[in-house]
Symmetry: C2
Subunit: 339 residues, 2 copies
C-alpha cells in the first residue's frame, strides 16, 4: 500500500491499523465523540495530520459557525447581521460563540464544532490555533476570518477593508475644507489598520505639500476615552488643530466630549472625522462625518467565502479588501478664518 501518494489517499482503515486501534475508534475521533481516551485521540489526530487526511462528504448540519473574540465590540452587531443575511439566503442557521478572553477559540469549542459538523466557520478578528486549524482541515470544515485590523495570516481566507484609502479620503476632505492644522488620533501602533490609515493621512498631506507635524499624530485605544484624552491634549496646544481625524467613531465621540468640555464648538471651530460609520455616528450631535467601513458587506463576503469553500470552489484570492467611503454629515465645516 502506498498511502503517501496523493493519487491514492490514506483510508481510515490504514490509519486504524497504523494507530493500532479499531476502525470505529478512528471514526469516533473524526466525529468529535467524547468516548475516546485523550491519549488515543491525540495519536489519531497526529496520524490524520501526518497523512493530510481529508474527509469526503458534506456537513452533518445546516449550521454556520460565527466566532467572536468579544461580543462587546461596537462592531459585533453589524457583523452578525451580515452573516445572518447570507445564512438566510443559503438556508443555514448561525451558531454564535464568544471566545472570551482568549485570543483564539478553546479546544472544547473545536470539539463542539467537529461534533456539530457545520458547513463552515467564520471567525471575527481572532485566529485559529495551529492545532484547531488542522483538526478542522482533517474534517474538511472550511473557515474564513473577518479581519478589519488588516493583519491576517497569509495563507488563511480573510476579508478586510481599504484602510489606507480611508485615511487618505478623510484627510483630503478636511484639506478641501481649507484645514491645514489637521491632527490624527489612531489605534495601537502595532495594528496594521492604524499604520495604514496614518500612512493615508500622511500621503494626503504630502500631496497637498503640507508639512507633517509629529505632535499632531497620536496612537491610542479605539474607545471613547482614547479620543477624549488625546483631544484634550491636542486642543490645549498653543497652535491647536482646527480638525481632528479620529481612528474610530467612538474616539470621535471622545473628541466631541473634549471639545464641549473646553467650550470649543463643533463644527464651527473644530471639524471631526470618525471612522467605521457605526449607527452611533448618526445618533451623535452633531452627526459625525466618518469613513464608512462596510462591516455588513465584509461579514457577508466572509460567509460567502466559507460557503463556496464548502461547495468545493477554490477562491482566486485568499484576501479580499472591500472599499471604504466617506460619509459627510454635520461634524465637519470650512476651516475657521485664522485670527
Amino acid at each position: 500500500m502506498q498511502s503517501s501518494l496523493p493519487s491514492n489517499p490514506v483510508t481510515l482503515a490504514d490509519l486504524a491499523s497504523e494507530a493500532e486501534v479499531s476502525l470505529s475508534t478512528v471514526s469516533k475521533v473524526l466525529n468529535g465523540r467524547s468516548d475516546v481516551s485523550r491519549k488515543t485521540r491525540a495519536k489519531v489526530e497526529t496520524l490524520l495530520e501526518e497523512h493530510g487526511y481529508r474527509r469526503k462528504g458534506g456537513a452533518k448540519s445546516r449550521l454556520l459557525e460565527l466566532v467572536f473574540h468579544e461580543l462587546e465590540s461596537a462592531w459585533a452587531l453589524e457583523i452578525i447581521r451580515g452573516v445572518e443575511n447570507i445564512a438566510r439566503e443559503k438556508g443555514l442557521s448561525v451558531v454564535l460563540t464568544e471566545s472570551g478572553t482568549r485570543h483564539s477559540p478553546s479546544p472544547e469549542w473545536v470539539e463542539g464544532v467537529i461534533a456539530r459538523r457545520p458547513v463552515g466557520v467564520v471567525l471575527v478578528f481572532s485566529d485559529l490555533a495551529q492545532d484547531s486549524r488542522r483538526q478542522l482541515e482533517a474534517r474538511s470544515i472550511p473557515f474564513a476570518i473577518i479581519d478589519p485590523a488588516g493583519d491576517p495570516a497569509p495563507d488563511v481566507p480573510s476579508v478586510g477593508s481599504a484602510n489606507w484609502s480611508g485615511g487618505m479620503m478623510a484627510t483630503r476632505h478636511l484639506l478641501d475644507l481649507g484645514h491645514t492644522r489637521i491632527a490624527a488620533i489612531t489605534g495601537p501602533e502595532d495594528m496594521m489598520c492604524s499604520l495604514a490609515r496614518i500612512d493615508g493621512y500622511r500621503s494626503a498631506l504630502n500631496a497637498a505639500a503640507l508639512p507633517l507635524d509629529k505632535d499632531l499624530i497620536r496612537y491610542g485605544n479605539f474607545h471613547v476615552d482614547g479620543g477624549r484624552d488625546h483631544a484634550l491634549e491636542l486642543l490645549s496646544l498653543p497652535d491647536r488643530p482646527t480638525a481632528i481625524f479620529a481612528g474610530s467613531d467612538l474616539q470621535a465621540l471622545g473628541v466631541l466630549d473634549a471639545a464641549r468640555q473646553l467650550g470649543i464648538s463643533v463644527p464651527e471651530e473644530l471639524s471631526i472625522v470618525g471612522y467605521d460609520d457605526l449607527q452611533v455616528a448618526q445618533w451623535s450631535s452633531p452627526a459625525l462625518t466618518t469613513v464608512h467601513q462596510p462591516l455588513i458587506e465584509m461579514a457577508e463576503e466572509a460567509a460567502r467565502m466559507v460557503v463556496r469553500l464548502f461547495e468545493g470552489d477554490q477562491p482566486n484570492n485568499l484576501r479580499l479588501d472591500l472599499a471604504t467611503s466617506l460619509v459627510v454629515r454635520q461634524s465637519t465645516a470650512p476651516a475657521p478664518v485664522s485670527s
Copy 2:
C-alpha cells in the same frame, strides 16, 4: 386501548395506526425530517396535538435557540451577551435567528428547530404562532420570551422589567433637583411599557402635589428622530419644560440634538433622563442620566428559565419582572432659577 387517559399516554404506534401510516413516518414527522408529504405531516401533527403527545427523552444537540424579531434593535447585543453567558455556563451553543419582517418566526424556522432538537428556545419580543407553539410542545422543546415591552401572553414563560418603577424613579430624580416643568416623551401608546412608565411619571408628580400638564406628555417612536421631533416642539412652548424624561436612550439623544440646535445648554438649562442604559448613554456628551433596564440579566433569566424547563422543573412564576435602577450621569442638574 384507552389512549385518552393521562395515566396511559398515547404511543407513537397508536398514532401511526390511527393515522394509517407507518411508525417510521410518525417518527419522521416528530424529528422534522423533510421526506414526508405535506398532507401526511399535517395529519400526524393534528393527531399529536389532539392526543397531547409529549416526547420523552432529552435534546439531540447541545444547542440553545435565540430568535430576534429584528437584530437592528439597539438592544440586540446586550441580549445576545446575556444568553451567551448562560449558554457558556451550561456548555450550550447559541443558534441565532432573525425572523425579519414577520412578527413571529416562520414555519420553516420551526421545522429547522425540530430537526436540530435543541435544549430550548429564547424568543426576543416576538411571539410564537399557535401552530409553532404546539409543534414545539409535542417535541417537549421549552421556550421563554424576553419581553421588555411588558405585553406577554399570560400562559407563556417571559421576562421583563419594572417599567412603572422606572418612570417613577426618573421623575422623582428630576423633582429632587427642583424641576417642576417636567415633560415626558414615551413610546407608542399601544405598548404596555409606554403606559406603565407614563403612569410612574404621573404618580411621582401626584405625590409631589404637582399638576399634570397634558401638553408635556408625548407618545412617539423610540428612535432618535422621535425624541428630536417632540423635543423641538416642547422646547418651543412659551413656558418650556426645564427637564425631559425620554422613553429610550435614543430618544434622549434626539432631545440632546434638539437642544443643541436651539442653543439650549444641557444640563444647565435643560435636564434629560434617558431609558435603557445602553452603551451609547455613556458615550454621549454629556453622558446620559438614564434608567437602567437590566437587558443582560433579563436575557440570562430567560435562558435559565428555558434550561430549567428542559430539566423538568416547573417555574413558580411564568412572568418575571427584574428591577430597574437610576444611573445618574451628566445630563441632569438642579433646575435653573426662573427669571
